[in-house]
């Protein structure tokens, strides 16, 4: 077993789709929270295969897309400092800040590097003891433990020239905010499989208990997604609301306690600013006192005031209130070569996915 091809079987998909059709008795709107799901759903044409009355909405689960301008502007301002190296994950390079992007700054000669793993930041810092290295760290719970490990090692190994610009986010508080806002018309959630590999089921219980909505933690292959949708429709038709796991090969009820412990060693929960969703309590992290010296957010530098493009609908798209097709900029001036908002930059951004597959 390779754990991939087995979950892409076309004949099984046809059978499951028939079962979905049979089970679905009323119109439903389901939200896939995670950008990786959005890409899979479009890549395999799942929206077009579902019965007319089963609609899928894309949610806020793209960390690049929800990073607010002020954080990007700060990373850009840091990159302009003397003897500074900025390292970050690839997708962040092209995201426009208020007036520039890391990619544009790199073209201007700033030292900005893409890393694949958080541990590469340590290697770069060791290789350049005469420079300050700042890791612009973004990501949800899938990535945060890996960033926490890098921070713990930086301290253990007494690397003095590596700092972290923390723009990480937590998914459950964002879902809480979405549900509370009541702007969202959704009957159930396809929950992110890899965020949940870390979290398990406990942090999502409020979705069922407080808001009476069903949710299924789902894998990313087409059969996983179809089964997740079927499980949601079944719950809706039976008037049940529980947090179920479809992705049992990766997600256990308790998640990965060691990974969560690493996050907790370094960070405490704090409010965070999300593009489109505003400031959400407990949806981010701040450094614990003992790690504060590694926080690049405290560098004393001047940052331009943040500005958003007035017509960009990224914020509404991230909340599932609007689709990219309703944005005046979509395809006209905003496209992957010239992204106006971050949802068009990230390969998992809803606008980028719509552009590619719609």
């Amino acid at each position: 077993m390779k754990f991939i091809d087995e979950f892409r079987d076309k004949e099984l998909a046809k059978g499951i789709l028939k079962n979905i059709e049979k089970t679905s008795k009323r119109p439903v709107q389901l939200m896939e929270v995670c950008g990786t799901h959005t890409v899979s759903i479009f890549r395999y044409g799942i929206r077009g295969l579902l019965p007319e009355q089963v609609k899928l909405l894309s949610g806020p689960g793209c960390p690049v897309c929800v990073t607010p301008n002020q954080d990007i502007d700060l990373a850009i301002a840091l990159s302009r400092q003397k003897d500074m190296i900025i390292v970050t994950f690839g997708d962040m390079m092209r995201v426009p800040g208020s007036t520039s992007s890391l990619q544009k700054e790199k073209a201007e000669g700033r030292d900005i590097r893409i890393i694949y793993s958080s541990l590469e930041a340590l290697t770069i810092a060791r290789e350049h003891p005469d420079k300050r290295v700042v890791f612009f760290a973004i990501g949800f719970e899938t990535t945060s433990p890996t960033i926490a490990v890098a921070i713990l090692r930086t301290k253990e190994e007494e690397i003095k020239n590596l700092f972290f610009l923390n723009s990480q986010k937590r998914i459950p508080p964002a879902l809480y905010a979405l549900l509370q806002s009541k702007k969202l018309n959704v009957d159930g959630f396809i929950l992110p499989g890899h965020v949940s590999a870390i979290l398990g089921t406990r942090p999502y219980q409020f979705i069922a208990k407080e808001f009476d909505k069903p949710a299924v933690i789902t894998g990313f292959e087409p059969l996983d997604i179809l089964q997740g949708i079927w499980m949601l429709i079944k719950q809706i038709e039976e008037n049940r609301a529980v947090i179920d796991i479809q992705y049992g090969r990766i997600v256990h009820e308790n998640g990965n306690p060691l990974a969560m412990q690493k996050i907790e060693e370094v960070f405490v929960h704090d409010h965070a600013q999300w593009r489109g969703l505003g400031s959400i309590p407990d949806s981010g992290y701040r450094f614990r006192e003992s790690f504060k010296t590694l926080d690049a957010g405290h560098f004393d530098i001047e940052v331009e005031p943040p500005r958003e493009h007035p017509e960009c609908l990224c914020g509404e798209v991230l909340q599932g209130i609007k689709t990219p097709l309703e944005c005046r900029l979509f395809r006209v001036v905003c496209h992957p070569e010239n992204p106006i908002g971050p949802c068009m930059v990230s390969i998992e951004g809803t606008c980028h996915t719509y552009f590619k597959f719609y």
Binding site: L12, C34, Y116, T142, A197
Partner: protein, 72 residues
């Protein structure tokens, strides 16, 4: 961004494993998933194993998928 791919552990040295992903072997940190053995599959995310792949559960899911496809 939350992409994860399964790979088979072929060698372990301290907290780093050599993991085979479709024929390409990469060094993967086991800091977050230390309790694995050679031959087992792990889910890889940004150079880290973040969870073991539960083979028995994978078979169970496939069984359910077959039942679901046939129950029409």
């Amino acid at each position: 961004m939350c992409l994860g791919i399964p790979g088979r552990v072929v060698e372990i040295e301290k907290n780093v494993a050599k993991v085979d992903v479709g024929g390409i072997v990469r060094d993967i940190s086991l800091d977050l998933c230390p309790d694995v053995s050679v031959g087992e599959y792990v889910l890889i995310h940004t150079g880290f194993a973040i969870h073991k792949v539960d083979e028995a559960e994978a078979h169970e899911t496939l069984k359910l998928l077959r039942e679901l496809a046939e129950a029409t």
